[in-house]
């Protein structure tokens, strides 16, 4: 049975992270739209798949996984063979490489994500709910994010990507949030430092991401 991806259809957010992994790994999938506006993610039926009532989740021949970063690792671990595009994650037996990968994953999760989320909430989500952006607060959040990205610039002066020298899931984890900033005229992803700019341009020019931005998330079968 073809893998099912449940989530939102845009090149934004956690569903987009999983969609990019599916495209990079050439994994066929059926996309099932979950309309958050109608509360489709909070129904009892949906919660049987994802008890926290969030998106995305996948169903792989009856095996259900939720949390985008867990889904991504599962897909990359399961489809580790040559026919499925770039590895995207070191095998568990390559302990040091996998550790450097997990270090980068934790940096995204603990340092980048909370910081970029504050910017996104202030700049984009508040207006969606009829509130005004507090420009002073926003400037503060952008400054915090810039501080994190300055450290990224240091890290990326020593390794090519955020999970090591190979492009990996750790880089993909950033596409759920990073690309949206430019739409609001916030250019920190390329203005903070030369290494971050080089890395970010590498990530967003991947054909899988270009396709998602152009077409949104669609079933591949």
């Amino acid at each position: 049975m073809v893998l099912k991806l449940y989530g939102t259809p845009y090149a934004f957010g956690a569903t987009a992270v999983v969609a990019m992994v599916l495209l990079e790994k050439h994994i066929p999938f059926e996309f099932v739209l979950v309309d958050l506006k109608t509360g489709a993610h909070k129904t009892r039926e949906f919660r049987e798949r994802h008890p926290f009532g969030n998106v995305p989740c996948i169903e792989d021949d009856g095996f259900i996984v939720y949390e985008s970063r867990a889904i991504a690792r599962y897909l990359a671990d399961k489809y580790a063979d040559q026919d499925h595009g770039p590895r995207l994650i070191p095998v568990p037996t390559k302990v040091q490489e996998r550790a450097v990968f997990e270090q980068g994953a934790s940096v995204e999760n603990v340092n980048f994500f909370p910081s970029v989320l504050k910017v996104i909430q202030e700049k984009f989500e508040k207006p969606l709910h009829g509130e005004t952006t507090d420009e002073v607060a926003l400037a503060g959040y952008i400054a915090e994010l810039s501080k994190v990205l300055s450290v990224y610039d240091d890290i990326l002066s020593k390794q090519r990507f955020m999970g090591g020298d190979e492009f990996s899931l750790v880089d993909i984890f950033h596409v759920g949030t990073g690309p949206g900033l430019a739409l609001g005229g916030i250019d920190v992803m390329i203005s903070t430092g030369p290494n971050v700019a080089r890395w970010w341009n590498d990530v967003i020019s991947r054909p899988s991401w270009v396709k998602l931005q152009a077409e949104g998330i669609k079933s591949s079968v």
Partner: protein, 218 residues
């Protein structure tokens, strides 16, 4: 060369998690006490190891690693055949651990820290707690624990019937909630959560760590 752990001496925060994995697996290590109040984590030498200037960091015979959750995964992978199996290798089994670990960092840790900051950190600095922030944190955490209750009605631990890193990561800050008078983890209204939490916090390695602090293993 024996593994070096750069951390504080107490079984708290990320250093506590790493010390627990070292203890569970009986991995020999040397403790390099890093005094945050003396800003030892912000020296150029330290920043060369950890560019964000945080503890813990390990130096495993020249291999340097930071981020406690990454260090725990590394140790569990490297010493997979020693001590309890904290981090299974098969894609499906590992996916369930990663799913529960992601829930911990995305859903659990944030409200726990919100409560912890008000009830423990602020009074320690002579600041007044904001009860409305505590209440909001407790409401948020309660909603998440209602889901944990459902999950733990089906399995003994968060990723299945074995104790794994996913359960262990919850020890980052939550054990101290009870100190602040918040008994949410052992409330009788959620019997499965209470059963699981009591199981986790009575693990001998954790009890010893809390009582004695981080002690080198030779």
């Amino acid at each position: 060369m024996v593994l070096k752990l750069y951390a504080g001496t107490r079984a708290a925060g990320g250093g506590g998690l790493v010390a627990l994995v070292l203890a569970e697996k009986q991995i020999p290590f040397e403790l390099v006490v890093t005094d945050l109040s003396a800003r030892q984590h912000k020296t150029p030498e330290f920043l060369a190891m950890h560019p964000f200037g945080q503890i813990p960091v390990i130096d495993d015979d020249g291999f340097i690693l930071y981020e406690s959750r990454a260090i725990c995964r590394y140790l569990a992978d490297k010493y997979a055949d020693q001590g309890p199996p904290l981090y299974p290798r098969g894609p499906k089994e590992r996916a369930l651990v990663e799913q529960a670990a992601s829930v911990e960092s995305a859903n659990f840790f944030s409200p726990v820290m919100q409560i912890f900051r008000e009830l423990i950190l602020k009074p320690a600095r002579g600041l007044e707690k904001d009860q409305s922030v505590v209440d909001a944190g407790v409401t948020d955490l309660s909603a998440k624990l209602d889901v944990y209750e459902v999950i733990l009605s089906k399995t003994k631990y968060l990723a299945g019937d074995e104790f794994t890193l996913a359960d262990l990561f919850h020890l980052m800050a939550a054990p101290r909630l009870a100190e602040g008078g918040v008994d949410i983890m052992t409330a009788s209204t959620r019997p499965n959560v209470a059963r699981w939490w009591n199981d986790v916090i009575t693990r001998p390695a954790w009890v010893k760590l809390r009582a004695e602090g981080i002690k080198e293993i030779n």
